[in-house]
Subunit: 357 residues, 2 copies
């Protein structure tokens, strides 16, 4: 594959044996969120993010609902603002409303980054504002540092609590050229994930002030996430952080190189044109089934997947896939990628000709 890590090539026994080998025999399992194994890792992530405290949870969905619930409780205002493509809006079946009685305000265009002007257009009080860095559903885009700080200042001036959806925060460093703690420092609380760029099994951390994290542990129990043992996730998160955090710059460079190679094709549009992280959305002119069929043929012949499948877009003539660079991407040259896409388009043309005969 030109995307992701090599875990898809590993068998489950291999993954679990490797995980076992990453543990010291004297390390004891966690117990309902206690124990050095989990608490030391939480402290490590808190330090990395420059926050006072952190708690490990099974999922980001849990981290973020809990953060917003706590902050809005404290502000006595259960209204939160976020982008129309926020995970909370798209992927959680109205959990903020159904579980936490939160009112939501969608800010900005679903196709573009939220801006200071979008915030200024909000005409009702907010208890909390969630910003996602980078913005996954629009190809991993990031606001400039100036725009970002202008937005967070706007919120601070109004006493609006700032929470960061940092599911892919690890990917932001090459663009901002700032430490994670400095980026996270603009926010009151931050959620980070371990199974995306870092290749873990699952798991997330919520970081922030100690009193908020202490309360978050109560909500974690309430939501059913204070598990008897979380160690498989903690161990894989620890392993991913140790192995892959230093590769973010290399992933970013590769993402830019792939984007440049693909941009040469008139059938392709890249969002963002120059990747700001190591992900991008790739729009391809063509029909869905033809593109998927051609990609399968290319994979069969070359052993390399260009994409697993394309999805429809707003413009019927274009299909799309998400490309996130990982260890596997680094081992395919840009020339090879260009050659394989050329083969893809040749196959599409060929099948058109064959059908017209």
């Amino acid at each position: 594959s030109i995307a992701g890590h090599y875990t898809y090539q590993q068998t489950l026994p291999q993954i679990l044996h490797e995980l076992a080998d990453s543990v010291q025999p004297e390390e004891a399992p966690d117990l309902y969120g206690s124990g050095a194994l989990i608490n030391d890792f939480e402290a490590e992530v808190a330090r990395l993010l420059g926050k006072e405290s952190a708690v490990f949870m099974p999922s980001g969905t849990m981290c973020q609902q809990i953060a917003l619930r706590i902050w809005t409780d404290r502000r006595h205002l259960s209204r939160v603002g976020f982008h129309p493509t926020a995970h909370l809006e798209l992927h959680e079946f109205q959990a903020p409303q159904r579980l936490h009685d939160l009112q939501t305000v969608l800010i900005g265009s679903p196709y573009q980054l939220m801006t200071l002007a979008d915030l200024q257009a909000v005409k009702e009080p907010l208890g909390a504002l969630l910003l996602e860095l980078p913005q996954r559903e629009i190809g991993g885009q990031l606001p400039t540092w100036d725009e970002l700080t202008a937005m967070t200042s706007w919120a601070r001036e109004r006493g609006i609590v700032l929470h960061m959806d940092g599911a892919r925060l690890w990917e932001c460093k090459p663009y901002y050229q700032r430490d994670y703690a400095e980026i996270a420092g603009l926010f009151d609380s931050v959620y980070v994930s371990f199974y995306k760029s870092l290749g873990g099994i699952a798991g997330a951390v919520l970081a922030g002030p100690a009193d908020v994290i202490d309360e978050a542990r109560i909500w974690q129990r309430r939501q059913g996430g204070n598990l008897y043992q979380l160690y498989p996730y903690v161990l894989s998160a620890r392993k991913g952080l140790a192995e892959r955090l230093d590769r973010m710059e290399a992933y970013h460079q590769k993402a830019k190189a792939i984007a440049a190679a693909l941009s040469a094709f008139p059938q392709i549009e890249i969002m963002p044109a120059v990747p700001q992280t190591h992900m991008m959305h790739v729009f391809i002119r063509g029909e869905r089934e033809e593109l998927n069929g051609a990609a399968l043929e290319v994979a069969e012949e070359s052993g390399t997947w260009l994409f697993g499948g394309v999805a429809p877009t707003q413009i019927p003539a274009y299909q799309k896939f998400e490309l996130s660079v990982g260890d596997a991407s680094l081992d395919v040259s840009d020339e090879e990628i260009a050659t394989l896409f050329q083969q893809l388009f040749d196959k599409v043309e060929q099948s058109k000709v064959e059908r017209s005969l």
Copy 2:
């Protein structure tokens, strides 16, 4: 230890290597609740419980809140009844109220099993009734089959949905001498756990009608439990079920033998006097720190823990611990256990004498 399994003797690397060895190389990981690995196991548990469908979740807390939310939504009556020692009442920080706007009705005495008479004393309509089999906080007690069916019939006649907290349902078979499906058949939905008697890492299943389980998957996503990958828990649950389900009768016999041995001591009261499952609560007359100190000495001298620590009870002269039989218990003879408890009480006496000198 005279209780539990041997996992406490294993290192984490050993546990994870064994888990890896339980997987076939061709088995693919689950993905957000999909895939043969997780779905086949769900089907296996559904069959075992005689239910149409089942869903694997990270925790029982999540399973039960979700079941009660769905059932009460359908009944248009958000009021649920359960025992005063239900997990939902004692260990979830008012999650039913805070997350799901449920009204709760506590039925019966905290020190005794719920009875038909207790149900008849409920004077307000209920949307759902939760029964725990066996009742953990009172030593794993079970109602007789006649009392149980009288209670479930009472609920059915009133259109009250029945949900079973079956965290330790696996332990009930020796007492009822009925298949799990027959016991579960009295209920509309059932939650079962895999890390207690079965020795898994964590994880739970909710089983019931297909449409309820389909909706439960939505709520699982909402609560943050529809994880990217759950396979470490699924694999350990599968391993525990395969290895330990057939040992329940042996555990039960051992529990009865231990209870008989301990009952011979005038300082000890057992609840229930004859264990109905393979757990019991042991009340010991004595002071907490003296008992804990003596148990530590016994463990140091014999290599065997009698209990990890005692907790206070309603009666100041008595302390208590929970004893749950597992693989480790089977390897300690009843005579050895009696001898070790005699040593414990001798040490307590000795320290009393020493202090009085």
